[in-house]
Symmetry: none
Subunit: 208 residues, 2 copies
DNA sequence: CGCCGTATCAGCCAAAAGGTGGAGAGACCA
DNA sequence: TGGTCTCTCCACCTTTTGGCTGATACGGCG
């Protein structure tokens, strides 16, 4: 049985050491490096060429986790990246998977779950915490379901090419409210701009 | 009934032979020559003075189809050129018709359609595949909407939801140039925002 | 009863997009 | 040769957007 080399990326020292101790109990898993930021992660991964990178998405300063995943994946496609984070917002999940994450674990995951994720990752299996999986599944299956009625209404008008001001007038709400709704829509669709939201919405069957 | 002489121009031998066999089934059509490039086409057409030239637009190397059409038309205005190609991009259609093509067929056209195009061409009739016709019609109806090749390229990327910066990187041009192109595209499409441009482009058949 | 999801609104700030006007290089055309 | 088109780039300025934080209100649910 080969040993699985792992690099930990988290800006909290305590989390890293805890994780290190936990993984240390497993004979077939070895933590070969640590990093506290996205930039550092790239360096460390370069040095140790680990099989798996366990990474927190939220990093204090500098490059964020998503960007780090993209770059890691670009440099060594065979290396598996597992997201290990506190929050499970829809946007983060979609973007992380999009960026190439092999797994998505929440920090309250059971030890056994973490071990399984690491071992699964090297075999090309994608392991994720139950709540994350269900969300992702729902997203892929019917992303519109997670939009509230009002949001769906707004999205539909958005595909007409209206501006925030016009959207407000059309729906009899303030521009501020429009922006709030839009922010929620972007998060749920996993995009950052209205352009991408429109492209996604129109192509996503139904509204042409 | 006079026999219609045809010259085939396509850089793929298989396409030429298939077409030759197909046209051979018609008593009134005779393939009198073949060419694999634009230059060769000019020579062969010179030799055989065919009634019709069936030509692919995409030729591996050397003179492209559009240029070949222009020259053919210039040398023998009576000779009909029919474009027979795989793609139906707006730019190609417009340029081919501009260059003097009498017809525009897609390679998946039905045999009957091809025969009709050849026979129609000698009578001065212009025959084209349905999707091509509809595009051209739309172009003619609203000439202002003809996008330049570069603009079309940009518009297509625009529908992916990219930002100006990303568009620039992707096309190896500055953000300033991107903005210039976008302004032109908006004007031609009759919209004011990128959102509307995307909505229009995606819905306007073709780029999904 | 508090908690959560939904919908509404505000203000502030940075980034992106859009408008205007100009300009040079290269291709093409008459 | 001169005019036109296309593609490229720049500067300056305004508007739009998106990100962040926070707030109020209503209704359902455990």
């Amino acid at each position: 049985m080969t040993t699985i080399s792992v690099v930990l990326v988290d800006d909290h020292t305590v989390v890293r050491s805890g994780l290190k101790a936990l993984l240390g109990t497993q004979a077939d898993i070895a933590v070969v490096g640590e990093a506290a930021s996205g930039e550092e992660a790239l360096e460390v991964a370069q040095q140790h060429a680990p099989d798996v990178v366990l990474m927190d998405l939220a990093m204090g300063a500098g490059m964020d986790g998503i960007e780090a995943i993209k770059q890691l994946r670009q440099r060594r496609p065979k290396q598996a990246v597992i997201v290990f984070t506190t929050y499970d917002s829809d946007a983060d999940i979609v973007r992380a998977v999009d960026a190439g994450a092999m797994g998505y674990l929440l920090k309250d995951a059971a030890p056994a779950e973490i071990f399984a994720a690491v071992r699964g990752a090297v075999e090309g299996k994608s392991v994720m915490s139950a709540p994350v999986a269900s969300r992702l599944f729902q997203q892929l299956r019917n992303p519109d379901e997670i939009l509230t009625p009002r949001e769906a209404e707004l999205l539909s008008l958005l595909t007409e090419g209206l501006s925030n001001r016009d959207l407000g007038k059309r729906l009899f709400i303030s521009e501020a409210t429009v922006k709030t709704h839009l922010a929620h829509i972007y998060a749920k669709l996993g995009v950052e701009t209205r352009a991408a939201a429109i492209a996604t919405a129109i192509r996503r069957e139904g509204m042409r």
